[in-house]
Every structure is written in C-alpha cells, then in structure tokens.
C-alpha cells in the first residue's frame, strides 16, 4: 500500500517541473477577476457587525464559507439560515460511490491501479468532494461532529477495503443529523460498520457447555460513549457524587453483561443473510437471527426489565428506549456537540439549556436534533461577543482548518470534481474523517493539556493531537496549499484542485482592505490589532498582489488568532 509519505514525494516531483508554468498561469495579477454576481435590486449594505456575526456562525456550523456565502447568511439572519439549512436534502455519498464502482467496472481506473486498489480511495473521494462542494453545509458539519462521537474507523481492514462500509455509515449520520437522536442511536446500533467495529455482528447467545458468553464490547461502549457516559449527571452536565464525594457510576459491569445479551443474534443483512456469515453486506442494516439471540429475561438500567420471550428486535428496541430516556443523554451528548461545534469549556448553564432542548422542554419531541442544534448554535454564550466570556473558544481541528482554507477561497478544478484522499493530511496532523485510532476518537472530550490550561481546570480536547510535530506540519499544509501545486491530494486520473484568489488579488493594492476582508472571512473580526499590524508590516513590501494575498492568508493561518477561535 502506498504510504502517505510516498504520496507526498510523488506529488513533489512533477511539481518542480510545473512550477514555472504555474507561476505564469497563476500569476495573472488579478486581471481576470470574476464579475460580481448580478442582483436586482441591489441589497442593502451589510454592517461589519452583521458580517462578522455571520462569519462566526459559519466557523461554528460549517466547513467554511466564501465571502459571498457569508453575506448571504448575514442577509438571512441566524435563525432563518438554520431553518433553511434544516430543509436542504442530504448530500449523500452513495451515488458517488456507486458511480465510482461503475466507472471502475468499465475499466476507467485500470491503468492507475497497479500499486493500489482504488476501492480504498472511493469513500475518501466521496467525503472530500461532498464536504467541499455540498450546499447543505450545516448538515455536513454536524455529521462530522457526530462521527467523532459515534466513532468507527478505517483502521479496521474490512472498513477500509469495502467502499460502502464507511460511506453508508456517514450517510446514516447525515440522514439523522436533523432527525431524532433515538433513531440515530438505533441505526448506529444496527449499522454493519459499527457491528464490525465494535464486534457485535455475529455476537452469539451464551453457551454454558462451551463456557462462552456474549461479547460485551458494544454493550459497554453504547453506554459509555454513545448515550449516557460513565457517571450519573445533573442536567447541567456536572457529575453526581455519593455521600463520600465519589462519582456515582451510571452502570455496573453487571449491567454491561445484561446489555451484552441484548446485542446478540445480529448478523449482516442483504439477500443471502445467515447468522455467522462473514461476508459483509453494507447497504442494509444488520438483521436479527432469533436462534442466535440470548433468550430469557434481561435487566436494563433504572430497574427496567425486558421480559423473556421477546424477539431480538423487540429486545433491542426496548434497550434503545431505556438508554434514550436516561436523563444523562441530554447533558452528555449536548455537551459534546457544544465542544465539537462551539467551545471546549461551555458553562454548566449552557449545557443545561441544550440538555433541556434535548429533553423537549421547548415543545419539541425528546431527542429532536434540530431543537438541540438550535440550542447549541443560537445560545447567548455561543453568540456573545468574542472574547467577552473568558476561556471561551476552541482550537480548530486540522480537518476543519484545511477544509476552511479550500472553502473560503473558491476551490475549483478542471473537471469540477474536488478530488482529495486525505492521506497526507492524516499523516501530518493525525486526523482524517472516520480514521480515528480507536473508538475514543482523535482526542478525548476531557483532555486537559498540562500547564496553564490544566491548572485553570479547563479542557482543550484538540490539543491532544497538537504536538511538536503536528503543530509545524499544519503550517506546512498551509504552505502547500498557498505556495505549491499541492492543493489537494488527487490520484490520477483525478486532478488536483486549486483555490481562486481573484477577488482578493483585485483589492490587494490596499493592504488594509485586504486584511479587513480576510479577517472577516477567516477570523470573523477577531484578529487582534497587534497580529494585524505584524502581518501588515510583513506583506506590505510584497509588491506582487498574488503573492501578497497568499502571504497574508498563510500568516493569518499560522497565527494563534486563527488557530484558536474565540
């Protein structure tokens, strides 16, 4: 298999040859800037405040927007924009995967598959093209956040090799992103990718004669990671303690053994399904085979009982209900969504408001994801002036830093397909969608870097993958995108994308206007004066406007003001 490192070196060699030509073509000095979109009647001018507010919401709720998209969001207003986003259909991966498979069957990739089978590329190509180009920008970003809670990963070979394995899983997350949490939890439970990842596919009833017992893996993680967490929580997310001050466990090892019995009897679905089949089938949920399902009564949490004699499917529905209705779910999931989208250290009151939205106190059904997302993104804490709440904000994660760079700056390609594999990004930053090293994601929600942050009692999960190596590597990714031909990692016959900076080059004579626009788009007005002055001093002597723009984006991208958003 090609390593990401060698992929990098491959990209580098032809680049040397093409540099001169690139300098000629890309160096147009802004002469071909695209005409502004025609709108009648001309809309009222937006205030700077409206623009930075809109841009901040975009930073929290999308993979990055262009200046024009931010204007459009600003004109709509936050709530109307959310409503419109909720209404957009999901940009599913399935059609792209099926198209790739058809093209492969027709021989289109034969000449390029000598070293490596394209099958492992397809789900990555689908993710990147969709994420960079889709209009349902909120859904895409929320699906990614969910993928860091309900973790599956291509570090398991079966999920790497079969193109539908992870694309179908991501589609599942997309479909439920604006639906109900209970449906999400049930469908994740029945997902064949999850069945493989947490080994409850082909999990068999106990056999006392052979001294074998149900697999406890999914039973444990569905509670610890996907629904209620380790400890009984108050509605504001704080941990309940006993008289001695020790945290109250939300479940015992005995509970795990009872739930393990529930998750027996599942195998792959599809036309030739049979229990124990090892041939994966990814385009349908797992199917229950009652003969392999643990019979008898099972005890659930909080005193609930599953009576003997139910079917396996009925048992699972009962167990999902039991977990879904646990009071922990709102604060446990709500806080993680806040951390993924908005800030690492939400106040207990913020968590409580989101938990109450989850619980349906605003009149929506319990688990309504639209209500939860409104609560997360429209909360007074999320929208308060940047810097006005101490310790508010989060380190931008590598995947989002990279996508934003492409999405802010009008990424385009010759064939309209934005091809990227992400192996380089993964190798250099330790992050790639659905490629976490374990079910515990790339970082823990509780990660607290030693030093001042830990001393202040704060967490900063994303710092878990920002070490002496990766912190520099990301600066070099900015370098590739801005100063080389390596904008995306496209395997032949796909073509690399490029960014289009014409709109910025057109205004770059005026350094202040350039920095003002970049500040609005990249840092929603939070570039502090000292940073802006340092960048201004650096780029003003650069007399080629194309270079000036690229240098400005590079320096903002490297700066602390950008890396950590407030």
């Amino acid at each position: 298999m090609t390593t990401p490192q060698s992929a990098l070196h491959r990209c580098c060699r032809p680049m040397l040859v093409t540099l001169a030509a690139a300098a000629l073509t890309a160096c147009g000095g802004g002469g071909e800037s695209s005409a502004p979109p025609v709108t009648t009647p001309p809309p009222p001018t937006l205030t700077r405040q409206a623009m930075v507010d809109a841009s901040r919401l975009a930073a929290q709720a999308t993979f990055g927007l262009t200046y024009e998209d931010i204007e459009s969001l600003a004109r709509r207003g936050r709530e109307a924009w959310l409503t419109a986003q909720f209404a957009l259909p999901a940009s599913l991966h399935r059609p792209l995967i099926d198209d790739f498979l058809a093209r492969r069957a027709a021989g289109e990739f034969d000449d390029f598959e000598e070293d490596i089978e394209f099958l492992i590329y397809f789900r990555r190509l689908a993710w990147w093209h969709t994420t960079i180009t889709a209009d349902d920008v909120l859904r895409q970003r929320v699906a990614f956040a969910l993928s860091q809670i309900f973790v599956v990963s291509d570090n398991v070979d079966t999920l790497l090799i079969y193109p539908h394995a992870l694309s179908e899983y991501y589609d599942l997350l997309q479909r439920h992103a604006f639906g109900n949490f209970r449906d999400l939890l049930r469908d994740v439970t029945l997902s064949p990718a999850m069945g493989i990842y947490l080994s409850h596919v082909n999990n068999r009833r106990s056999n006392p004669a052979a001294n074998t017992f149900p697999d406890e893996n999914y039973a444990r993680e569905v509670m610890q990671l996907f629904s209620i967490g380790l400890f009984e929580l108050n509605i504001d997310g704080s941990v309940q303690t006993d008289a001695g001050g020790l945290p109250l466990p939300a479940y015992s090892n005995e509970d795990i053994r009872e739930f393990a019995k529930i998750f027996t009897g599942l195998s792959f679905g599809g036309p030739n399904a049979s229990f124990g089949s090892i041939e994966p089938f990814f385009t349908a949920p797992m199917r229950m085979f009652d003969a392999a399902h643990e019979p008898g009564e099972k005890r659930l949490l909080n005193g609930a009982i599953v009576p003997a004699g139910q079917t396996g499917d009925e048992d699972i529905e009962a167990a999902i209900d039991n977990l879904f209705n646990h009071p922990n779910v709102g604060p446990f999931i709500g806080k993680q969504l806040i951390q993924r989208l908005v800030t690492s250290n939400p106040s207990p009151a913020y968590v409580e408001r989101v938990a109450r939205a989850f619980n349906g106190e605003g009149g929506t059904p319990r688990g309504d994801m639209q209500a939860v997302l409104r609560a997360v993104l429209l909360d007074a804490e999320a929208t308060a002036a940047p810097g006005s709440i101490s310790d508010f904000g989060k380190l931008r994660e590598p995947v989002v830093r990279y996508t934003a760079l492409l999405r802010h700056f009008n990424v385009e390609s010759d064939d309209g397909f934005i091809a990227n594999l992400g192996f380089t990004l993964q190798s250099l930053t330790r992050q790639h969608p659905l490629s976490a090293p374990s079910v515990f994601n790339f970082y823990l929600p509780s990660h607290s870097p030693p030093g001042d942050i830990a001393a202040a009692g704060l967490v900063a999960p994303e710092f878990q993958i920002l070490n002496s190596n990766t912190v520099v590597n990301f600066a070099n990714i900015l370098d590739f995108v801005l100063f080389t031909e390596f904008v995306t990692e496209a395997p032949e016959p796909f073509v690399s994308a490029r960014i289009n900076l014409d709109d910025y080059i057109a205004i770059a004579d005026d350094v202040d206007e350039l920095l003002e626009r970049l500040d609005i788009v990249m840092t929603y007005g939070t570039l502090q004066a000292s940073t802006r002055n340092a960048i201004r001093a650096a780029i003003e002597p650069v007399d080629d406007n194309n270079l000036r723009v690229r240098a400005a984006i590079y320096l903002i991208g490297v700066s602390s003001d950008y890396a950590v958003r407030l």
Binding site: M15, A23, G387, R430, N467, N469, S530, S560
Partner: protein
Amino acid sequence: MLNRRRFLGHSCALGVAGTTVATTLGQLALTREATAQQSGYRALVCILLAGGNDSYNMLVPTGTSQHDAYSAIRSDLALPRNELIGLPGAAANGETYGVHPGMPELATLFTNGEAAMIANVGTLLEAVDAAAIEAGTARVPVGLFSHADQINQWQTAAPADRIADGWGGRIADRLQSVNAANGISMNISLSGTNVFQSGLNSTEYSIGATGNGVVGINGYGDTDEFGQFRTESIDALLAIDQSSLLRREYRQRLRASIDAQSVFAGALAQATDLATTFTTSPFSQALRQIARVISVRDVLGATRQTFFVTVGGWDHHDEVINNQAMMLPAISQGLGEFRDALVELGVFTDVTTFTTSDFGRTLTSNGRGSDHGWGGHHIVMGGAVNGGEIYGDYPLLATNSPLDVGRGIYIPTTAVDEYFAELALWFGVGTNDIDYVLPNLRAFYTPGTPPPLGFMSNR
C-alpha cells in the same frame, strides 16, 4: 523585493529546513559539561499495547494440569500446549510457563537473562479479594474494565482519580533539569501526545520514526529572501502576547517546536549508522528511531530520557487467536532487534524497556474473542534486568479460583505501582520524589526498603 519564483521555489523541500545548528550545538556542549557530574545515562522505554492485550495467551502454563485448567477455562481461545515455547525454570508457584508460539525472540531474551516477565499486574487501590468485591465493600480503581480509564491509569498510576498527568511526566517534572536546557523534553514520544509523558509542568517531545524525526516550518531559517521574509514574519507573529489561554498554549507549542527542531534535527543528523537491521513494521521502525536518538544522547545533552511508543489494535473481542498470531511476532521481533541495536551502541545496560496495556482480558471466551479484564502479564527487557524469571504471582488457574471475579477476570496479584516503582527507582527517582511520581505506592510498598519486586539489578 520578493519575487514569485523565489516564493514558490523553496517549497519542495518538504522535510527539513536548511538550518544552521552550529551555534546551538556549541551552546549545548557547554551545558553538557555542567551536567557531566550526574551519574551515567539511563533510559526507560514504555511500550503501550493499546486496547488490552490478551496476555494470558502470551504467557501460558505448560505443566499438564495447569494447561488443562487453562484449556477448560479458555475453551476455543486456548493455545495448544505443544505449540508454546517453554521458558526455563519454574515460577514461584512451582509451575512452568511458556510464551506464545510467535514470540521466539522473547523466549531467547528470557532464556539469556535479558528479559523478565511480570505476572498478573494490574491497577489496584489496595489489596482486595473476590469476596470483598462481591460484597461491594472493596475499594477498586475507578472505571474498572473500561478502556478510557484503565489505559489512563496504567499511565497515571493514580487509580482513584481521573487525572491527565502521567508518572513519566511527573518524573520529568522532577528530573528534567539534569538534561541540557535546550527545549527538548527528556520525554520523547514516537506516538504523539500521551498521558504517560505529560507532567504538571512537562510535555513530551514528539518525533516521527522516519528521517531525523522532526520537521521544521518549510522555508523557516532559509537564508534566501523568502526564507528571511518567512522567518521574520513568523517570529513577529509568535512574539505577540495572547490573553486567551488556548491561544497562548498554541503559540507556545509552535514557538517551542520551531526552536527545538533545529537542535534535534542537527543532533539526529549525527546519529549512528546502525549495523543492526530492523524490519519495516511500524513498531520496529519506532524502536530503530529510539536507538538512533539514544546514539546522540550526548549531543542532545541528555542523561535521562524516557521514550514512548504505542502499538494499537489489541482489543480483540473477536479473532483474538488470529490477530495475536499476527501481532505478537512483531512485538517479539522488535524487542530482539532493539536489544541488538542497544548492544551495538553499548547501552543495553542503560536502557530498560517495558510493556503496558489497558488490562488483561477475560479468560473465558465470547465465542470468538475475549472481553475486558483486569490483571495481565508484562515484559521487561534490558541489561540491568535480572532476567530469566517470572516476577509476581502467576495465579493458579481454576474454574473456582478465589481471584476470579467473573468470566475468568483475575484480580491483579501485583499492583502497577510496584511494577513502576521498581523502574522509577532504577531510573534514579529518589525517595524524596517517589511519592510525587507514584502517589498510590505506599499502599503496597514502603520507600527506602528493598525494591518491591527485585527484577532490576542495583548495578
């Protein structure tokens, strides 16, 4: 003025910036003289088998009756007796043991007295028995059997709490100053940020397994016009104070990385060209890089170092037999290669390598694999190890074992604190610091008395 061609032309040098390190190295040599009074070099190499290695199939009874009991409990997960590689001698319980058939190098290391096994180690707050656990009166580690907690506690040595600082990091809190002050932590990780090497005031220095282990910012430090532009503008950005704690932390990490990179890359450029060959497995390559770093310990001004490498994928709820048959040989091979490289460098006595893991696993099967357990067996290797012995108590396996808390989960008979204390004391952690490094140690061992397990020689 800058022109575009120069702007673009630098960028193909993906890896190492052409930085002058002569000045820094000169400073280093001076610093090193100051620390030369310290005792000789010592290093700990921590191998984390993430996911929970099923170590009851790594170290297995070979006596007939104990192997029969093992087979009865493990059912379809049992390894046949005639496939095990027998180890010489007997454990304290009088029984004989062998290692997994895929680990011949480990068997050789053990037989030659260069490696020891530590039996049934795990996280404990205090000595407990199954009856107390059954009755709910036992004090046990938080989050027992859970990956997140147990993998954490094997690194924090603080089983009553959820803390983020590890015992290697706390060692660095106290001992970092014996090394040269060049911005490179005494704790070097091949697997990125980790709990073991995070102290209250210390973080790991992360390197990669390839090349000289570190990269710099492309173009930074270059002497051409664009290099100067880049260096000056980034230096100016990183000089700006930040009020946000998170922004300050990012700035500090980027600055520290840029500063340390030239020192480290310059040192590694002088690494010994090892005659020992390593296989291409990521584990072997990580150990190779560790050996290379150790070969330039003097250039780095290091008298004490810890190294950390994770090998993931041990959570074998299914296919445990097949997966271990693929994965344990890589561990064994890597250890054999690493031993040879350390002998080649003349530092085998100065470097102690040890394994850790989330937990052992259930001895009973779930039909395809095993689930989360508690006590497990571990490997210690090095010239200072009193090898060829199994330390601690390997439990006598029985369906009604008093140590079994259900599904063949055995209560640890040796606490991780004892295991780690032996290593920390050898490393040079004094009795003044040992409570800071291992806060739960006194439940099992009184500092100042002979080392708890005796597997390290005092030299």
